[in-house]
């Protein structure tokens, strides 16, 4: 009897001594298993109770359970102290150099033309325009004739053309589209008003390259046709577009311009980024930078689509994405875009 009590106090002495020596969480765990685990010393005492007379069992049991509670509490206390010491150690001795980089994660970027194109399309989508696409290699009919630019028309000089080696009726008839405007005709061929569509895509010109000219370019064509669309709507749509892309404080201006497939025709200009309208080298001293060409769809084209040209009016516009990207990013040479130098592309 006495021996069991002695054992309990021996366990207590040893346990408390060893607990004080447990200097980390691992040794604390080992201690807990040694005393409180399924095969631990105190557990052994408790298990031995079953064979004792009732009196003794009550006495020894009470002592053992009290010790168990005490050891568990001491263990929790020790654990909390050790955890806190660990945090203190991390704080004091394991400081990180926060300026060091993390391990590399692969990071690809979209081409700046793709980025600008997406922004432009988003601006028009928000205004209710759908996106459509058309072929890059086109018939003369869609690129020129149906747009009121017949063969031998001087306006053909506005688009220096790369022709495909394909002749029909003794004439070259297939070409790399010089603008996205053929899609005006293509869209009208298979839809009825109301129409609101933007058509992005690559275009090609027979052109020597220099800092402001590139022979391959990306354009966005716009077309809206409905009863009651006027030039005032065209101005409003383009002004809203310019502000979304270039900022709310942007001033816009319109001037008369000529494209055979619109009447009246116009050009949209925004105030120069550099001089804010004062006139500088970038804007050719005019204070304005040309952004895009537009106009009211020529009534002949509306009629050719089979629509009632008295009732339906509409507008069309075409803008160059490279030019907008140049202006947004301050790039001074358009040839950077398709030279694909990674030192350039990775900046965007």
């Amino acid at each position: 009897m006495t021996s069991e009590i002695d054992t309990i106090s021996a366990i207590q002495q040893a346990a408390l001594r060893e607990l004080a020596a447990a200097s980390d969480l691992d040794s604390l765990d080992a201690w807990r298993i040694a005393y409180l685990g399924r095969r631990g010393r105190l557990t052994g005492v408790l298990r031995g109770l079953a064979g004792m007379p009732i009196e003794e069992r009550r006495r020894v049991g009470a002592g053992a359970n009290a010790l168990k509670e005490r050891l568990e509490a001491a263990c929790d206390e020790r654990r909390a102290a050790l955890e806190e010491a660990r945090v203190t150690q991390v704080i004091q001795e394991e400081r990180l150099d926060v300026t060091l980089p993390g391990p590399p994660l692969p990071h690809g970027r979209l081409h700046p033309i793709t980025q600008t194109l997406r922004d432009v399309l988003r601006a028009f989508r928000d205004m209710g325009f759908q996106v459509a696409e058309g072929p890059e290699i086109e018939w003369d009919y869609y690129n020129f004739e149906a747009l009121r630019i017949p063969a031998d028309h001087p306006a053909r000089d506005m688009w220096d053309t790369l022709w495909m080696d394909f002749e029909h009726d003794g004439r070259r008839q297939m070409l790399l589209r010089t603008h996205t405007s053929p899609n005006q005709i293509r869209v009208m061929e298979h839809s009825q008003p109301p129409i609101r569509v933007v058509v992005p895509g690559k275009c090609y010109r027979f052109e020597a390259t220099d800092p402001t000219h590139e022979w391959m370019m990306t354009q966005v064509e716009g077309l809206a046709i409905d009863a009651g669309i006027s030039m005032a709507d065209l101005k409003g749509t383009l002004a809203e577009f310019a502000r979304r892309i270039f900022g709310q404080e942007r001033r816009v201006a319109f001037r008369c311009d000529y494209f055979p497939f619109v009447e009246p025709g116009m050009e949209l200009r925004i105030d120069c980024f550099i001089c804010r309208g004062e006139g500088c080298r970038t804007c050719g001293r005019s204070g304005w930078i040309e952004i895009l060409g537009a106009g009211m769809v020529h009534p002949e084209i509306i009629a050719n689509a089979g629509y009632d040209a008295e009732k339906y009016t509409g507008f069309a516009f075409g803008l160059g994405i490279e030019r907008i990207a140049l202006l947004r990013h301050g790039v001074d040479d358009i040839r950077y875009f398709y030279a694909n130098d990674l030192r350039f592309l990775r900046q965007f």
């Binding site: 696409e133 290699i137 028309h153 790399l176 022979w215 001037r255 009211m296 020529h298 990674l342």
Partner: protein, 801 residues
């Protein structure tokens, strides 16, 4: 078109400063591309009067000239010009004035100088020293009314507008046409040049004859005849104007034809009448094989659809493009036949393009000139020849006008005006604008205008053309601005576009940089990446007029572009370079537009990074490209599988076909070192290609949800030994077909002891589970046993213990 403002001001008062005028013209559609200020460089040069000319004490050929600049300011200079004389008005540069040094071409400030012992306080200038001409024998003598002391600029300087014109406005290829615009924009009146002259000669009909044989190409031909002309230099004022407008003076007769062309926009041609056989002009198509020596010295063989001006025997001019050498006006010419005609615009353009000859005449004719202009221009030029060449005009003109010019009348309603512009304009304002532009305009209440188009406006044909006239003069910025109202059309799905954009985002997110390359290339480059047989069966479309050999064919693949860009960026990139492009490939079809196939191609090359981003020794290869492709296909929810295959551009044994639903939609593999080397790439390159159009039908729609498993999974590993040629994918397929298998993945492939040669050990981590209950170890063991048995039967696999 260069418009000198001094010349312009002869026809209209210029009430605005040049910059403001240029702005207003530009807004109205007459774009002033550049404002050139001649005389702007004459810094500090003033008009002086010569008071006294004395001999130089030490030099016979030099003289001492005293000039007066007003207000008692006098300077004495040493001057070597033989023509200097008292009372002349001259251009004087005082000390400090900036002059262009004849040797260096740079501007230098004039310093006082001592010439042969006499101090000289400036210079009296020659034309050469002013940069006006090469004339340096004598000083420039100014008009007697030049204001003494005033800047030279105010006497001789000019402002020139260089116009960037649109092809619809041939009327603006003339000073008078621009004057009409200026008048309409500034509320001024146009002063038309005089066309009155005395007809002192005999009736023209008795001397010359004109016949139009091909009226479809020549709607009108007016001829004047001027006898007794003396061919010499034209007067200085005319030469100055021609030079200012960018033309070279030749002689008075030719200069007058050019002058009137610049003034009125009608090209003219002067023939030496004595050289015209039969004293007649025949306007006809060229005869087969007919040849003509042109003024530029070239001899051309004419095509039968080209229009010529012929005499009784042969062609003497290429109608509307260039005169012939034989009938050219020379110093010996005494009788001039003046041609003022109208030609079929497309015909002129065809001829001009066929010969690649663009002249001041052809650029005007090809745009479609007014048929009323030839008569007026002929009269104007004849008047000048009478006045400036001492000529005697024959009585009357020959005017062969098989097509009678008639007025164009257009009805414009207020309703249409409102419909197009979105605003009601007061009838009075519309009338005022149109009248100022030379239109006749009557308001017919309650709702319409009847407009008569002025003869020079060949571009105005319909009501909307008239509306543009009103709008551009009022100013587009003055018109209202509104937002679109009305119904928004229903959205049509664009799955192909959506797919491409997802592909872009997925590949960029996987670390690939997007590039955009040219759609044209050359055959040699295509030959580097395509099998000769494929190039032969699918020959790329050729550009008929390529800019260079480098860009002659529409590409049928993107491989070369990715490899070329990779090679170009090789320097300075020690780590991984990963690129992709989405673009069209162009596959020819018989007698139709090519098939444009939306394609994505990507390359990955270089050595993989360590924790610090430094290149390790481990190169990126097949499986890195596959990881990208797997991620992409997973983003698209396309259930693809890979099958070993072979392709010209890829390394055999390291090439896979991407197969979806039994159809190949792309390729993945390591680029054949021979192909990489042809681009100058030494490192290994992994490449992938996908035909997005073929992929499109397999792209998953909205995800259909699977219930989250109610019972836990049990993980167990399984290693089997199979023959080397059994792909891991086959083993996975079998394992996955068992009902209790939830997931399976490879975690190791091992070759070598104790695995026999020709066989490999593949280890799988398998996750088992059931929708009905929590599996016991026994359940899993039984399923595992069944899997091993099946693998043994089907693939000859044995369990690796």
């Amino acid at each position: 078109m260069r418009i000198p403002l001094r010349w312009l001001s002869e026809y209209v008062d210029l009430t605005l400063a040049p910059e403001e005028l240029a702005r207003r013209l530009t807004i109205a559609g007459v774009e002033v591309g550049e404002i050139i200020s001649s005389g702007g460089e004459w810094d500090g040069i003033r008009v002086a009067e010569v008071e006294k000319v004395e001999p130089h004490p030490n030099a016979d050929r030099l003289r001492l000239v005293t000039v007066h600049l007003g207000d008692g300011e006098r300077h004495r200079v040493v001057c070597g010009a033989p023509n200097v004389a008292s009372a002349q008005k001259v251009a004087f540069a005082g000390v400090g004035a900036r002059l262009i040094d004849g040797h260096t071409g740079k501007a230098v400030a004039l310093k006082p100088a001592v010439i042969r012992g006499v101090e000289s306080a400036g210079m009296v200038l020659s034309e050469k020293e002013l940069g006006i001409s090469e004339e340096h024998e004598g000083i420039l003598v100014l008009p007697a009314d030049a204001p003494v002391g005033g800047p030279l600029r105010s006497v001789l300087g000019d402002v020139i507008f260089d116009l960037d014109l649109t092809p619809n406005r041939p009327d603006l290829l003339s000073i008078l046409g621009v004057a009409r615009e200026v008048a309409a924009l500034t509320g001024q009146q146009v002063r038309d040049p005089s066309i009155q002259y005395e007809e002192a000669g005999g009736p023209i009909g008795g001397i010359a004859a004109v016949e139009i044989a091909d009226a479809d190409l020549c709607p009108r031909y007016v001829a004047a005849l001027i006898e007794h002309v003396k061919v010499r230099e034209s007067p200085a004022w005319m030469q100055e104007r021609l030079v200012a407008a960018g033309m070279r003076p030749i002689n008075n007769v030719v200069d007058i034809t050019n002058y009137v062309m610049l003034e009125m926009g009608q090209p003219l041609h002067a023939f030496d009448f004595k050289r015209l056989r039969g004293a007649r002009i025949v306007v006809r198509r060229a005869r087969p094989g007919e040849k003509l020596a042109l003024l530029d010295g070239s001899e051309r063989e004419l095509a039968p659809d080209m229009l010529v001006i012929a005499d009784a025997e042969e062609a003497v001019a290429l109608a509307g493009v260039m005169g012939g050498g034989d009938s050219e006006v020379t110093a010996r010419t005494t009788t001039v036949l003046l041609e003022s005609a109208n030609f079929h615009a497309p015909g002129i353009r065809r001829t001009s393009q066929a010969f690649k000859v663009r002249t001041d005449a052809s650029v005007r004719f090809e745009k479609g000139l007014s048929r009323q202009l030839p008569l007026i221009a002929a009269q104007r030029a004849t008047k000048l020849m009478v006045e400036l060449c001492g000529g005697r005009a024959a009585r009357g003109l020959i005017d062969v006008a098989p097509v009678k010019p008639k007025d164009v009348r257009i009805t414009l309603t207020q309703e249409r005006l409102h419909r197009v512009l979105g605003v009601d304009l007061p009838p009075a304002q519309v009338r005022q604008v149109l009248t100022a532009l030379g239109f006749g305009c009557r308001w017919l209440p309650p709702d319409r205008f009847v407009c008569r188009v002025p003869y020079w406006r060949t571009d105005v044909a319909i009501a909307d053309d008239v509306i543009e006239e009103v709008a551009r003069i009022v100013g587009y910025d003055q018109l209202p601005t509104t937002q679109l109202r009305g119904e928004i059309p229903p959205e049509a799905p664009q799955p192909a576009r959506d797919l491409r954009e997802i592909v872009r985002d997925s590949l960029a997110a996987a670390g690939l940089q997007e590039i955009i390359t040219y759609s044209l290339t050359d055959l040699d480059t295509l030959g580097k990446v395509l099998e000769p047989e494929e190039l032969a069966t699918n020959p790329p479309l050729r550009v008929a007029n390529p800019m260079s050999r480098e860009f002659e064919y529409a590409r049928t693949t993107l491989r070369h572009a990715l490899l070329g860009t990779l090679a170009a960026n090789a320097g300075g990139n020690a780590g991984v370079v990963a690129l992709f492009e989405t673009a069209k490939r162009f596959l020819p079809r018989a007698a139709d537009l090519p098939e444009e196939i939306e394609t994505v191609c990507a390359v990955i090359s270089g050595r993989k990074p360590d924790r610090w981003g430094q290149a390790t020794a481990e190169p990126a290869g097949f499986y890195d490209a596959k990881a990208v492709l797997d991620r992409l296909l997973s983003d698209l929810r396309v259930p693809a599988c890979y099958e070993a295959t072979a392709d010209f551009a890829y390394l055999p044994g390291r090439t896979a076909a991407v197969v979806v639903d039994g159809r190949q939609v792309g390729l993945l593999g390591e680029v054949h070192p021979r192909v990489a080397a042809s681009f100058g790439i030494k490192a290994g390159v992994a490449m992938l290609e996908l035909d997005l159009d073929a992929l499109l039908p397999h792209v998953g729609g909205p995800v259909h949800y699977q219930p989250v498993p109610a019972y836990p999974s049990l993980e167990q590993d399984l290693a089997v030994i199979v023959a080397e040629d059994v792909p891991a994918g086959r083993v996975i397929e079998v394992i996955r077909s068992f009902p209790l298998v939830r997931e399976v993945s490879v975690f190791d492939v091992y070759r070598g002891e104790p695995v026999p040669r020709g066989r490999k050990s593949v280890a799988f981590s398998i996750s088992y589970g059931s929708p009905q209950k929590t599996l016991t170890d026994e359940d899993v063991s039984r399923e595992r046993g069944r899997i091993v048995a099946r693998l043994g039967q089907e693939l000859g696999a044995e369990l690796r213990e």
